[in-house]
Symmetry: C2
Subunit: 187 residues, 2 copies
Amino acid sequence: MDTTITTRQLQIGEEVRRLRTGLGLSVRTLAARAEFSPSFISQVEHGQVSPSIASLERIAAVLGVTIAGLLAPATEKLDAITRAGDRRRLASSWSKARIEDLGASGRLEAVIITIAPGGRSGKTPTSHAGEELGIVFEGDVSFTLGEDVHRLKRGDSVSFSSETPHLWENHGPEAAQIAIVSPRFTH
Amino acid sequence: MDTTITTRQLQIGEEVRRLRTGLGLSVRTLAARAEFSPSFISQVEHGQVSPSIASLERIAAVLGVTIAGLLAPATEKLDAITRAGDRRRLASSWSKARIEDLGASGRLEAVIITIAPGGRSGKTPTSHAGEELGIVFEGDVSFTLGEDVHRLKRGDSVSFSSETPHLWENHGPEAAQIAIVSPRFTH
DNA sequence: ACGGTCTGTTCATTAATACTGTACACTCGT
DNA sequence: ACGAGTGTACAGTATTAATGAACAGACCGT
């Protein structure tokens, strides 16, 4: 037989089961709605098969998620509140800035950055994988994105691919704060 | 033959091709590294096959992304700035609240909600698929999450699974603002 | 005790299709 | 004109996804 079971298949299987039981569905009813045999669903949940995208999609549809929802299962530390005065401080290479964690649970990762006057995220714009959404929480900042420099004020937001070279700076006389959120794609 | 081509398969194919050409790889070299035939890679890129998870993972590994990166490809409208006074207003069923778009590009979706005194997100806590990260931008709000009610002030943040019943309320005398970010899993 | 009906799992068999191999058409340097 | 690169088309097969039947256990009412 030699049924090879990979980690990812197990991961998907666990997520399917978690969602199915959460919806109060039995293996048979899920199978019926997705038009599969019950045994197949069981095998999927045990990671014994490597379903095709098309098959997974039919299963995901019944569970009310997209296929990506099955493949990037949320980490467990959800439902957490972080008080403004009680944030975990993160190490950083920024000059004159403090980076604090807003909770990196689930599929999102968020930090809030306090930049002292004259502080910036680096000497030159940086470029890395991923994507970011920034909201200016306090103060005035100048934000370099690619070729352009934007002056952002409280309430302004920016959504960009992290591959575009970017740089945050605080030229103003007072401390500025920006909240930055990015999607997690940890395996 | 009757080769059925689904939208999702095309989507994956386009993403594979985008990543491959971005890395300067030819169909043959990608095939060799992932240990597939060139024709198979071509078929995948054209959405003519529905590869198994295991196969897709081998391809994703060569391309330097996770499988979720292939399945939840970013939408194109990236690198956009939204000014505080220039946000697109969204329709909502909230009472005494204004919901504005912060840009739903890429894999993130963000809104900022202004709740008038006495306003709330609904009569009872709602529960739906997904996940949210909220940051109180202005004012005091009370936030119900499951059984607990939390009083949140400016700068406080909360990260939770949308499946947990939740409700936003503004009991204070002044308008409150919260920014909410969630990962997109739109097909 | 007894059916009856639900639950999920195992495993050999098969029907489907993922994947291959070969052939093709095309562009680019030499 | 050749060789070496590019990507694509298509018929075939070998893999395996998916099935079906039979299984053991839990629960219910009679």
